[in-house]
């Protein structure tokens, strides 16, 4: 499974949706993921990729981790994985 598929699978699980129904342009809000769901998704991503995601629920837009869409999350994860390598 590549990074994108893994991230989509984690988000799909939080959204209670099938991964094939998740579009890269979707935002967490569009998928019905609230702040707790988002925090759980990020935890899932950290566990799956063994990375630390800089994310503070108090200032999601200020965090150095773009969560504006599924594509943005995938890109941010790829960057963190690359930085770790």
């Amino acid at each position: 499974m590549n990074t994108q598929d893994k991230v989509v699978a984690i988000i799909a699980e939080q959204a209670l949706m099938d991964p094939s129904d998740i579009k890269l342009t979707d935002t967490p809000e569009m998928l019905g993921i609230d702040s707790m769901g988002l925090v759980e998704s990020i935890f899932g991503i950290e566990e799956a990729f063994d990375i630390i995601v800089p994310f503070n629920a108090n200032e999601p837009s200020e965090s150095d981790f773009d969560i504006s869409s599924v594509a943005a999350i995938v890109k941010a994860v790829e960057r963190l994985v690359a930085a770790q390598a």
Binding site: S35, M36, V39, I52, F55, N56, A57, N58
Partner: protein, 402 residues
Amino acid sequence: MRRVVITGAGTINPLGHDVATTLEAMREGRCGIGPLDIRDVDRLQIKIGGQVRDYDETAHFNRQQITLYDRFTQFALLAAREAIGQSGLQFDGALGDKSGVILGTSGGGLTTQDENFRAVYEEGKNRVHPFIVPKLMNNAAVSQVSMEWNLRGPSFTVATACASSNHAMGQAFNMVRCGMATAMVTGGSESMLCFGGIKAWEGLRVMSKDGCRPFSANRNGMVQGEGAGVFVFEDRDHAMARGAEILCEVVGFAMCSDASDIVMPSKEGAARAIAGAVADAQIPTNAVGYINAHGTATAANDKTECAAVRDVFGTHADDLMISSTKSMHGHLIGGTGAVELLACIMAVRDGVIAPTINYEQPDPECALDVVPNTAREAKVDVAISNAFAFGGLNAVIALRTA
């Protein structure tokens, strides 16, 4: 119904090891938050907290006592000694039977749990010390205080997360008010600044890595603290008859549940608790001059709390002062309401309003007089203290000048 007064106060917290030092720190707007000095801090993302510094347990307790006293129990015992000492009460005979202890805590002996889980899971030990259970149980502090002072009346522990102390003090207030007890030793204690305690909070992603800035637009989360606050609540007639020094009167209390979300605060719930406490005190809303805010410095709490205050007080919201002393001592979770009550006592007794320090940028969603950065002198007759816990459990207590 009896009137209830406070005749003793005690504390140990990140700002000081007693009430005088703590109030001086609040007047000076000193910050007790700094780098955490705990085991495995390098494995934490959050490396700051309000720790009780320069604390040596062996200066206060002997070896047998330390075997039985978790850090949260030690803090409770030290604060109780100061409070009961100030009150001058001796709980022998009938007074001991009619007086009890109600304290709040959230984590109880969490440090003891942390250390012993390490021993059995990480170090693979198959045996722990025989007294781990009486040391870690949430009622350990209440029981040890009752034993040290012969308090044989109604005694128990309240655990409602961040509102624990306020719920505890509300119970104590009503017990004295209705005649069930003559005096109650009450407040709260917390010590969860251990690796597991912080790791759990870290996971929620609501903690700040760099400081506690309540109501400031650039706030980015809460900072944990530790410590205890303990008070003697006493039947006013009893206190007057013995010529006791009265610090202030406890005049109202209200509590309610949001029944909506396990972590997100509710404006309606907060407003109901605030309005309830004012109504219980039988005073007009414009009599309230100071509010010690819950003020956690999370994005959600501070704007919700300010909106609730505006709903309850209307135009008077612009005339009253509201500050969050968590900016100085951090969030003591189950002990926080007790330490924050000290700021309310300082307001109604000394006419000094503790500031909200670290205030850097106005937030239009928190547009109240938050007493930014510098303490202020002001005459205040009534002060209230807010606590809004995770789980939507709200508790507000009101004090008046004696």
